[in-house]
């Protein structure tokens, strides 16, 4: 649909800009300010220009945290996106199953994130947790507080359990919006279920899947509360993701300067990758008018 051209539309957009900018601009400027200062104590700081940026780029702990973050987000996206779509495909279209499915799916999403961490601590403990004791009774000495692999498994499992419903809900929305005639045409053309999925359903879900992918990428890349509560970044440094590292710097050591610098770089990485994802997904269906 061709849009009407009218700059007065700005009036409709001003409230949104006001509310968002209010919380966005000043804190952002403050953080940029921190990133160029050496904050020795409250009220005492020295301007250091780009020193922090140079330092930070050589910080090996930062690099490690960054790689761990990429690995985590990558794993999570690879599991959540297909799984979420599969669930959405399996969900009922009519009847009492619909509200039942929707409510059940929404349950993990509604739990505060620190509580999620706590639930999974309990759940995976061999003494009081269902999962923990079940795995241990199978002979696997599972302990996410001691072994990095177990910690990673628990974290990925927790994350997938927590957020796959978001992908499913969005994918379900996209699927319900496909008119029935497309399925009829596919049947007449003798298309297999796979062909129907690949040529009709997937292309038509492009919009929702873009939102799902971007949201999940951003949120998993920025993740903090759940892993912090579950492992605190350990054992050792094995699950110290980027956010956890930044917070350690900022609040633990009160090194606001480098923390702010890393945060800005962090932000730029997320921005760049999101932009790339967005453009790729828009282009993949170029020429398509839904």
């Amino acid at each position: 649909m061709d849009k009407w051209e009218n700059n007065k539309a700005w009036f409709l957009v001003i409230p949104v800009c006001a509310f968002v900018a209010f919380s966005a601009i000043i804190p952002l400027m403050t953080v940029v300010n921190y990133s160029v200062q050496d904050i020795i104590g409250p009220g005492a700081s020295v301007f250091v220009g780009t020193d922090w940026f140079k330092n930070v780029l050589h910080d090996y702990r930062l690099h490690d945290a960054l790689w761990r973050q990429f690995l985590f987000s990558g794993l999570v996206l690879l599991i959540e996106m297909p799984l979420g779509i599969l669930i959405a495909l399996a969900m009922p279209k009519r009847g009492w199953g619909v509200p039942f499915s929707l409510v059940t799916l929404a349950l993990p999403l509604l739990i505060p994130w620190n509580t999620i961490g706590t639930i999974w601590i309990i759940f995976t403990r061999p003494d009081i947790g269902l999962f923990g004791s079940a795995i241990n009774s199978l002979g696997v000495a599972f302990d996410h507080t001691r072994r990095p692999l177990d910690a990673w498994v628990t974290l990925v499992l927790m994350e997938v359990w927590h957020w796959t419903p978001l992908v499913s809900l969005l994918a379900y929305a996209g699927l319900r919006a496909i008119p029935e005639v497309y399925y009829q045409a596919a049947k007449i053309d003798g298309a297999s279920p796979w062909a129907t999925f690949y040529y009709i359903q997937l292309p038509k879900m492009r919009g929702v899947l873009t939102i799902a992918l971007l949201l999940r990428f951003m949120d998993s890349f920025l993740i903090y509360a759940e892993p912090f509560v579950l492992t605190g970044g350990g054992p050792g440094n094995s699950t110290t993701f980027l956010s956890i590292y930044v917070v350690k710097l900022a609040l633990g050591q009160f090194d606001l300067g480098p923390a702010a610098t890393i945060s800005l770089i962090y932000f730029l990485i997320v921005l760049l990758l999101s932009f790339i994802f967005y453009q790729v997904l828009q282009r993949v269906g170029k020429g398509e008018k839904v």
């Binding site: 509604l110 009081i128 359990w161 945060s263 932000f267």
Partner: protein, 267 residues
């Protein structure tokens, strides 16, 4: 035949999904001592002690009330501002529109931690610390962009001819918007309301930073269960179960909107 396999797979997934939640309910109905003493698949010495503690201790239940207040305020503000904005993005072409849209999304891209202190300073300067409105406003930062994004998708699924017909028939813009347009995207509104509620309800960092006691949300109160004797698992589990309840009620209310919205939206 195919239908059966799908249903079984779905049932297995839902079952697995529910397990940690079931476990939490299990814990919540036992005392802490009981939990640590023995492992049990379901509560043998069932007790409501934990729940009673929460309902009678002001520092606990006020947490729930505070959360409900600022989340509701935030959802209202987000919806009210996002609706006209989404309409503008959907129907109009204006200077900088694509950039503005992307800028809105970028507000979800920054790691919260370091921003906590500047947020505190900003809201302090405005004497808004420890108020519900502070948290509601702060959450607008990420909820409004999401609301605009989702609503725009649903709105673009409604043909512009409907707008044009209404204007020709003499409807003023506010009247058209409220009596005709919003009912058409009522479903999209339901979905957006749910997501705004959800993201605001579970947000921890800003909610804890900007409040002290008066507006302390439940998410912050729950971190208090760490005592000298270690975590009180039973109490924590009960609090956890109770945090699901308001959200579950919200979805229950909008369930028909969501199912229908899922049939009308283009998103």
């Amino acid at each position: 035949m195919k239908g059966k396999k799908k249903t079984i797979g779905l049932a297995i997934y839902f079952g697995l999904l529910f397990l940690p939640i079931y476990w939490m309910i299990n814990m919540s109905l036992r005392t802490n001592a009981d939990i640590l003493a023995s492992f049990a698949l379901f509560p043998i010495d069932l007790t409501f002690q934990n729940y009673i503690k929460i309902f009678t201790d002001a520092s606990w239940y006020s947490g729930y009330i505070n959360s409900m207040i600022y989340v509701s305020i935030n959802t209202l503000i987000s919806l009210a501002t996002a609706l006209p904005a989404a309409y503008a993005f959907s129907r109009y072409q204006f200077m900088g529109d694509k950039h503005l849209f992307f800028w809105l999304l970028t507000n979800r891209m920054a790691p919260a931690a370091v921003f906590a202190l500047p947020f505190f300073q900003l809201y302090s300067a405005l004497h808004l610390i420890d108020t519900h409105i502070a948290v509601a406003l702060a959450h607008c930062l990420f909820n409004i962009p999401l609301a605009v994004w989702i609503l725009e998708g649903f709105m673009s699924g409604i043909p512009r001819e409907i707008d044009e017909t209404a204007f020709i028939d003499g409807y003023s813009f506010p009247r058209f918007f409220i009596t005709i347009f919003i009912p058409l995207i009522r479903a999209g509104v339901g979905v957006t309301a749910f997501f705004c509620f959800m993201f605001s309800w579970v947000e921890l960092l800003l909610a804890r930073t900007l409040t002290v006691t008066d507006a302390k949300p439940i998410v912050a109160t729950m971190t208090r269960t760490i005592s000298a004797t270690g975590l009180d698992w039973g109490l924590l589990a009960a609090a956890g179960v109770l945090t699901i309840v308001p959200g579950a009620l919200v979805i229950w209310f909008v369930r028909n909107y969501m199912a229908k919205g899922f049939a009308l939206g283009r998103v």
